[in-house]
Point group: C2
Chain length 112, copies 2
Amino acid sequence: MHGLDAAFSALSDPTRRAILARLAQGEATVTELTEPFEMTQPAISQHLKVLEDAGLIVSRIDGTRRPRRLAKPAIDEIEQWLAMLRKALEQNYNRLDRVLAEMQHPKKGKSR
Amino acid sequence: MHGLDAAFSALSDPTRRAILARLAQGEATVTELTEPFEMTQPAISQHLKVLEDAGLIVSRIDGTRRPRRLAKPAIDEIEQWLAMLRKALEQNYNRLDRVLAEMQHPKKGKSR
């Protein structure tokens, strides 16, 4: 499965997006995430597993703690895909602008 | 369902992302999309339905044609969500940088 398939699929859940928004502010453990989200620890763990499998978060070991943080490369990949889409969209708009301008002010000597 | 739920879910499929990339270059009908994607027309129509239900594309009626184009507001919404994530991430990095700088060069008169 393409990395973007799993990443976009993981992002389709509002709780997972909220967890990512929280982790963007700094790393947190399952315990630290459980309280603000008012969910059970297994439910949070399941969401973290989906996010980790999709490459959106990574964990590190700190004694008995296992804090999670956002994985910047995955965020970068999503942004790059959107930037490609945006660029094509803008080139298309620019092309339409030129066509419209040409229709309003046809160049001399050009047969229409 | 939140708009972002449906949008990200629709984006999790590689064919649908490719259709969006094609439509970013300009509007196209089902027939025009069927050939480059080497898929059946019903298969393309099904993908277009998912994209339209998610608000990512819109269609217009042009005689017997029904060209689809990208829906800019939905793309804007996704980009805004990612920009929020990116901003939080960078503020977090800046904060870490300050903490590290402070550890290396503690301010005078501040007990540590």
